[in-house]
């Protein structure tokens, strides 16, 4: 399957879905899924191949090149799979909302541009697909009006700033090396001074950092995720965030060879240390902010920011083990985070729009399958063994500890501790606890939503038990970057200082489970106490009174909240206010009085003449 055919058919398909939508809604839904299936099949057929193809040379005689290599293959496959599940999920979710054709067209356009970014072989096509992704995401974020408009505005302004920084970076690379194609640049970049490389890195750091929501640049993510329609937030936080990661890997490992990157800049101000520090901060602060969130999607959004921190740690560390840890964590995070968003989306769909954790509860009886999917997703998020999160986190911890950076390891562990807390809050508030009266007649999630959820939970398990599958492909990509691959086998990783074999862990857990089950069966049964006879002195206690999943972690919140105001957010709103005031101030120049305007003209003339009289400039 040639690359440009894949992209052309994909784009044509998305256009067709839009037009078909005008005719029949059913046909459009099916076509959307077909297009995505075609894309997934196309990408899987490209497994292991490395090929390039020039797409278009009309643009100011810069060639637009497409190229596939194992590293890009992982990203493309993840995007396609998550996109497919999201579109299937949104069949029912979007039906009763307005402008459905627009939604499907934009959804397919976002996925198309992401795959385009991942497959692009030169900076020009990379930038063009990047911009198309930006403005189609903008249109999707502001899709359901109301608060979404402010979120969309914040997103588009930051992404325009980011892409401009990237444009400048890419063109200065062009002036330095004379070409925009990645191979050409990496080939002739070794002559560049380290100062120039740092300048380029800073520019690209801003562009990818905004997309990757690294700590100071993450401000747009929480409002964008919580306001966007759920299927799209699944794609948004599952995969779209990771395009920044793809950019980082491409830049650090693909273009500026990793050895150069590691010892770039003198001891103190070393770009790698800066990135690691920011990764650590990105893990810490958002995790604890996530604790306070009462809106399910906002909680998940903050958790995405936190998990991105892990990935940045993995990538910025520079060893092959850390890279594979980071990439694997990206892969796993995409799976379980989109799963979690789908769970919340299903709940939201059924309770038509309720996302407030305090008013949900006890849905385990009504939506068992969603509960199981949510549980598995949360386990993946925390990194419980037998789920894929465990393997990638282990790899990251292993590299941090083995390579003597205790501070980062401590931060990572603290982060995981926080993750456990807010994940439990999520599961508990939605599924456990007392079922409020108004949800008595709640049905389970519809089939079209259950299928993607079940599929994603299976993948979380399969890659948890058999991490070898993704790791093998990651090894292939590391070979591409010229780094020595990890020693892996189907069940896990074997390294000099400790290895993990999922086979042993799985058997141990299963045996433990059986033993536990036996104890439970034979042990004394506890009696079932009727709810009514309790300490309320016989007065009937309304069921809602038992609703105790309200304001979880309140004491912890009161303790930490004062220190964790979101400094970055205040900074940006202050910046926006500053620009608006400056605008109003400068507007005052045009006073409306013609005398002043004539004075300005003569002033301009006098200044020019004065320059000549005084300094004999010319």
């Amino acid at each position: 399957m040639k690359l440009e055919i894949l992209l052309a058919v994909f784009f044509g398909g998305s256009l067709l879905t839009y037009l078909l939508g005008k005719i029949s809604k059913r046909a459009r839904d099916i076509l959307a899924v077909l297009v995505l299936l075609f894309a997934t099949a196309g990408i899987t057929s490209l497994y292991g191949k490395s090929s390039t193809a020039t797409l278009y040379t009309g643009f100011l005689d810069f060639p637009m090149v497409l190229s596939i290599h194992p590293f890009a293959w992982i990203f493309a496959l993840t995007i396609a799979v998550v996109g497919l599940c999201a579109v299937i999920f949104s069949w029912l979710y979007i039906r009763k909302k307005g402008r459905t054709d627009f939604f499907y067209f934009m959804m397919l356009l976002v996925i198309f541009s992401m795959i385009g970014i991942v497959l692009s072989g030169d900076f020009l096509s990379f930038y063009i697909f990047w911009e198309m992704m930006s403005w189609s995401t903008f249109l999707l974020i502001s899709y359901n009006r109301g608060k979404a408009i402010a979120a969309g505005m914040k997103y588009i302004v930051m992404s325009v700033a980011g892409s401009l920084a990237m444009l400048v970076g890419m063109i200065s690379l062009y002036t330095q090396t004379g070409t925009l194609v990645f191979e050409g640049i990496s080939g002739s970049l070794n002559s560049a001074s380290s100062g120039y490389l740092q300048f380029i890195l800073i520019l690209f750091f801003v562009a990818f950092g905004i997309k990757n929501a690294i700590w100071p640049l993450h401000v747009w993510l929480p409002p964008a995720h919580s306001e966007a329609p759920s299927p799209f937030s699944a794609v948004l936080s599952g995969v779209l965030i990771k395009i920044g990661t793809f950019g980082f890997i491409l830049l650090i490992y693909g273009i500026i060879q990793v050895q150069v990157f590691v010892n770039l800049g003198h001891a103190l101000f070393n770009v790698r240390n800066l990135l690691l520090l920011l990764g650590a901060v990105t893990i810490l602060i958002p995790t604890f902010i996530a604790l306070f969130q009462d809106d399910a999607k906002r909680l998940l959004a903050w958790s995405t920011v936190a998990q991105a921190g892990y990935i940045i740690l993995g990538i910025a560390y520079g060893t092959s083990e850390s890279l594979s840890g980071g990439t694997l964590h990206f892969f796993n995070h995409a799976l379980f985070k989109s799963l979690l968003f789908m769970v919340v989306g299903a709940v939201e769909f059924r309770t038509n729009g309720v996302r407030d954790l305090n008013s949900l509860g006890g849905l385990i009886k009504k939506m068992p399958v969603t509960f199981v999917a949510g549980l598995i997703g949360v386990c993946g998020l925390i990194g419980v063994p037998l789920t894929n999160g465990f393997v990638s986190k282990w790899l990251i911890y292993h590299t941090l500890i083995v390579n003597h950076s205790p501070f980062l390891a401590f931060v990572a562990l603290l982060g995981t501790w926080g993750t456990i807390l807010y994940s439990y809050k999520l599961i508990h508030h939605i599924f456990l606890g007392q079922l409020p009266r108004k949800y008595e007649k709640l049905q389970a999630a519809p089939v079209s939503m259950k299928v993607p959820m079940i599929f994603l939970s299976l993948t979380v398990f399969v890659f948890g038990v058999l991490p070898g599958l993704p790791l093998h492909v990651i090894n292939l990509s590391e070979l591409g970057f010229g780094m020595e691959p990890l020693a892996i086998n189907m069940w896990g990783v074997v390294t000099g200082s400790g290895s993990i074999q999922m086979l042993n862990i799985a058997t141990a857990l299963i045996l433990g489970g059986i033993v536990l089950w036996l104890f439970f069966r034979m042990g004394p049964k506890n009696t079932r106490a009727d709810q009514m006879d309790n300490y309320a002195a016989g007065a009937p206690v309304p069921a809602d009174r038992y609703q105790y999943s309200v304001k979880f972690y309140d004491p912890l919140t009161r303790m930490i909240a004062p220190y964790l105001k979101d400094i970055a957010d205040n900074f940006y709103s202050a910046l926006a206010r500053g620009i608006r005031n400056a605008g109003n101030g400068i507007r005052r120049i045009y006073t409306g009085d013609v005398g002043n305007y004539a004075l300005y003209i003569i002033l301009f003339l006098a200044i020019l003449i004065f320059i000549q009289l005084y300094w004999k400039v010319w």
Binding site: G58, F59, L60, D61, Y127, I128, E131, M132, S134, W135, F138, L139, S142, Y143, R145, A148, I149, G152, M153, I156, V157, V160, A161, L164, A165, L167, V168, I171, S172, Y174, T175, I579, R580, A582, G583, N584, I586, R587, I589, Y590, V594, N596, Y597, A598, Y600, I601, I602, L603, F604, L605, L608, I609, Q612, K616, V617, W618
Partner: protein
């Protein structure tokens, strides 16, 4: 191979003929401007291949250049003639719908004279002739700004007139000084003799020209007239003013700076002036809530960007500048036409009143969005190659000052993105309480130009190499001063 003088004479003749045509039939008057500029467009396009290798020189009255007036139809001139004819033709098609019932013929005459003046400024090779055509352009613009006769129109026209004629007076003094110094009025002749005189004595005329033409080209301190004039003029006129009049003013400044005086050490000043204009234009536009005023301030911003691009004084910079100029002309004309058409529907110019226009006028709002995206410089549209080339030239230039100014340009572009996307959001996503505007039958004559502009913006965005060779030739003509002089004064 048509004689370039006809590009000025045919529209002028038709303008003179309109009062007589009125006796024959009132209705055909609307089609006369469209006919004139179609003629210009077709023959200008046919002339471009000829002009690409050698500029066409026309001697008025048969006298050789230093004695008589000559027209220089070089690549720069022809680029502008094509732009003027294209925008003129499409806007006149837009104006088939009667702007104001009475005085229909006067509107069309003034409109044709305005564009004839612009074509004259662009083609002439003699500074006094440049002044006369510049005056025609300004005078027609003053009357057209006041055309609607409402309170805002008259006030803006008076202010525009006072500033404009102050500028023209300064230009006239400059011409007097140059004639006193060199005894000739032909641009190439003066350019040849400039370096025979020690520079101090030639500095004052240069400054007078920059100020005089700068008023029309909307450089920073001189552009106080632009927001009022563009927001109170009729739609078609603000489209022409923003699309053509400022660019022609900028052309005049360029011709003075590059060809006439050929100075190089003032470039730093122009770089700073351009970025200052850009920042102020974008900041003021950010805090506007009247859509035409916002577009007017964004024109000021874009002119600042153009001045920055041209003052890089490298072939790449000037080619990028010309491309961005063409994209601004087409983009801004599209934005004003689309906004104007929507204003006729909403009744008020406030951005808030455009809520939910995405549903009632889907095609126009789509066109407006494409125009806005092109202005911000998003890839598939024409703004992107323009900004791309300017950034390439600036980075190629590499001095510290240029890089700092580049930072400011990026900030300004982000601000520009902010206020354009705000309008797009109001169009499509604002408010569920849609005012119940039924979808009136769209006036065909108003949608055709909007579609053609959008098509052009997309095609040139995807395949910019279509016009880059013409732009390279014009950049060469501007920079290669001795070649220009030798081609006119053998």
């Amino acid at each position: 191979m048509v004689n370039p003088v006809l590009f000025i004479v045919v529209p002028l003749g038709l303008a003179f003929a309109i009062p007589l045509l009125k006796y024959i039939s009132k209705k055909i008057i609307r089609f006369v401007p469209a006919l004139a500029f179609l003629f210009n467009l077709v023959f200008a396009l046919r002339l471009i291949p000829v002009v690409m290798d050698h500029p066409v020189h026309v001697h008025i009255g048969g006298f050789i250049p230093p004695m008589g007036i000559n027209l220089v139809a070089g690549p720069v001139g022809m680029l502008f003639v094509v732009l003027i004819a294209l925008v003129g033709f499409l806007v006149s098609v837009y104006a088939f719908h009667p702007v104001k019932e009475k005085y229909e013929d006067r509107y069309h005459i003034l409109y044709m004279l305005q564009l004839t003046g612009a074509t004259g400024v662009v083609l002439t090779g003699d500074i006094f002739n440049l002044f006369v055509f510049f005056e025609i352009l300004c005078l027609a613009s003053y009357s057209l700004v006041a055309y609607l006769g409402n309170r805002a129109g008259i006030e803006s026209a008076v202010k525009y007139l006072i500033q404009g004629s102050l500028g023209s007076g300064l230009i006239l003094i400059g011409i007097g000084l140059l004639y006193g110094q060199f005894g000739t009025l032909n641009m190439a002749d003066i350019a040849g003799r400039i370096h025979s005189v020690q520079p101090v004595s030639v500095y004052v005329p240069l400054v007078l020209f920059i100020t005089g033409f700068g008023v029309e080209a909307a450089l920073f301190p001189l552009n106080a007239w632009l927001p009022d004039a563009h927001s109170s003029a009729p739609t078609t006129i603000s489209a022409v003013l923003s699309g053509i009049a400022i660019e022609v003013g900028l052309y005049a400044v360029l011709r003075v700076v590059f060809t006439l005086f050929g100075i190089s050490n003032m470039m730093g000043f122009f770089l700073v002036l351009g970025v200052l204009t850009l920042l102020i234009g974008e900041l003021c536009a950010f805090s506007q809530d009247n859509i035409k005023r916002m577009l007017a301030f964004s024109s000021i911003g874009q002119i600042g960007l153009l001045v920055f691009a041209f003052s890089l004084a490298s072939t790449q910079g000037i080619t990028g500048g010309f491309f961005q100029l063409a994209s601004h002309t087409l983009g801004k004309a599209l934005l004003f036409l689309a906004a104007g058409y929507m204003i006729t529907r909403t009744g008020s110019m406030e951005i808030a009143s455009f809520k939910g226009m995405g549903k009632t006028m889907p095609f126009t709002s789509l066109a407006f969005t494409i125009g806005a995206f092109s202005m911000v410089g998003l890839p598939p549209f024409m703004g992107f190659p323009g900004k791309f080339m300017i950034l390439k030239a600036a980075l190629h230039d590499g001095q510290m000052l240029t890089l700092i100014l580049l930072g400011f340009i990026l900030i300004a572009t982000v601000i520009e993105g902010a206020y354009f996307f705000r309008v797009v959001q109001v169009l499509y996503f604002a408010g569920d309480d849609l005012p119940d505007r039924e979808r009136a039958p769209a006036a065909f004559s108003r949608l055709v130009p909007i579609f053609l502009f959008t098509g052009l913006i997309i095609v040139l965005g995807i395949y910019p190499s279509l016009i880059t060779d013409l732009l390279d030739a014009s950049a060469l003509e501007l920079l290669d001063r001795p070649g220009f002089i030798k081609s006119i004064i053998p």
